[in-house]
């Protein structure tokens, strides 16, 4: 590019400075709360205190020693794992059908597949809960996984569709011309090329499920709650560092996941919503 950067023409310095200052402020706004969580997680006092008086790992000990928190953490990981598998299978196959199946009305179907994202998630939970009540099945674990799967599918559909629409269809045509049938073309050309989108979608599905609150609200059974629900119930009455420790653990988990995602499939093209 030969032309100067965006704002650097008429009011060069000032415009550029404002633009950068604004953006840095936004990044600070995004990250400052996360940073403060670390401060409180490491601060030894049993209440929120600023400036911090020292560094201690007692809240991490309390978190990892708490049976409630640990049970919730494992349940969340379990549900997220099952959700990831289900949402990836359903979402990726639906995306393939939508992009390459020649379905009539595929735009409408796409909109429907994405609708759990656009409708309040709390309604998905409420509607499922009321159905379970009506059918008198209680609050089964599969019911919770099902709710999570519904709200995770849109992410998989979107990332997979994005890849399918971007890659060169001539590769498929070449396979066809070389004598491969449609099915063989899909399994040997389309599917491998779609993998990054599916993987990105799977990671999103895992995180959406792991952090899911509104859907779980109605679907968890008392005494067997996911981590976000347990944290929320704890937070209603206590504001000590245990929440900070739990937060740090989940933040580190998230950073790890993003880092892994960037390393394996790259973020630029697939982290679309």
């Amino acid at each position: 590019m030969t032309t100067a950067p965006l704002v650097a023409r008429l009011t060069p310095r000032l415009g550029r400075f404002c633009y950068l200052a604004l953006n840095v402020a936004v990044v600070v706004f995004l990250l400052a709360p996360i940073a403060i969580v670390f401060v409180f997680a490491l601060n030894p006092t049993p209440y929120i205190q600023f400036p911090p008086v020292g560094v201690s790992l007692r809240w991490f000990e309390k978190f990892f020693a708490s049976r409630d928190f640990m049970n919730a953490l494992w349940l969340s990981l379990e549900v997220a794992a099952m959700t990831t598998i289900a949402a990836t299978l359903f979402g990726a196959s639906a995306a393939l059908a939508l992009a390459r199946g020649g379905l009539p009305g595929s735009r409408v179907i796409t909109a429907i597949m994405l609708s759990p994202l656009m409708l309040p998630a709390i309604l998905t939970g409420l509607a499922l809960f009321q159905s379970y009540v009506l059918l008198d099945v209680g609050r089964p674990l599969w019911g919770l996984v099902l709710g999570h799967t519904l709200v995770s599918i849109p992410y998989v559909v979107r990332t997979t569709l994005a890849v399918l629409q971007n890659f060169d269809t001539r590769l498929e045509e070449a396979a066809c011309n070389l004598g491969a049938g449609p099915l063989r073309t899909y399994f040997e050309v389309t599917l491998p090329l779609t993998k990054p989108g599916v993987m990105a979608g799977a990671v999103f599905a895992f995180i959406v499920s792991f952090d899911q609150f509104p859907v779980s609200l109605f679907l968890v059974s008392p005494g067997r709650e996911t981590l976000p629900i347990t944290l929320f119930n704890y937070l209603k009455f206590d504001l000590d560092g245990t929440i900070g420790a739990a937060s740090v653990v989940s933040i580190l988990l998230a950073v790890l996941v993003v880092f892994g995602l960037d390393r394996t499939v790259g973020l630029r093209s697939y982290a679309k919503l």
Binding site: R9, R100, T124, P214
Partner: protein
Amino acid sequence: MNAVRTGITPIAWLIAPSALLFTLFFFLPMGLMAVISLLTGNPVVQPNVDFTTKYYRRILDDTYYFEVIWTTIRIGLLTTLSALLIGYPLAHWMARIRGRTAYAMLMMAVLTPMLTGIVVRTFAWMALLSDKGAINQALIGLGLISKPLPLMYNEFSIVLGLTHIYVPYMVLTLVGVIGRIDERLEHAAQNLGASPLRAFLEVTLPLSLPGILAGSLLVFALAISAYVTPILMGGFQIMTLPMLIYQQISSSFNVGFAAALGMVLLTISLVLVIAYNRILGLVSGQRDLQ
């Protein structure tokens, strides 16, 4: 040539599992919710159940419920607006930045809070804004104020918390759209004498309208269904629709009334989605919804 792309191929069958899943566990439950909102009780366990409009009449007759609905919409709108104002510049920067490392750093900055979870981030804002929180203690420590500012337990703190939680969704939606706008269009406008600001306002901004709409819709939908942040940041003082719905289930097990309130929330969202599709159709002509 186009054998892969024309007509229905066997691949179309792959839609079947999802179609079944959505029919049985999404549309059927939503339909059931609509029915339950019109019934006097549970037809499976109770023998003489009748149709009734009492739940809707209750909503219509009491101005309290109007206030709750309006509060929910107002918080949704304020959150959407602030997420757009904060998110747009960042999305623009990310879409135009050159270096891959710089881009990855910004993406991390956006994704890290997004992946941190609603409860954790609400806790973070409580730790920042409460009377003993970082902001108040820092200001008192510096001698700027003598008693803590009332930063929490009001609508401001709810909107602030929700904005922080949903800005990443806005940014991610916008980055994709702005990134697809050819930068040379802006340069052309500048070569023709427009200031950078004017070039942005008259070229890039209108072209990014579909992204603005999509992001706004997403943030609004998420904000009006939020539960954690309004409850904790509002200190149980400000009632929103999701809080009311959950209260009806958990404390009075009034499934019918909760269903009627759910239908109100559903209607608000559907009206928005339909309006969005209409407006998008108008601004982008034949452009793909994707």
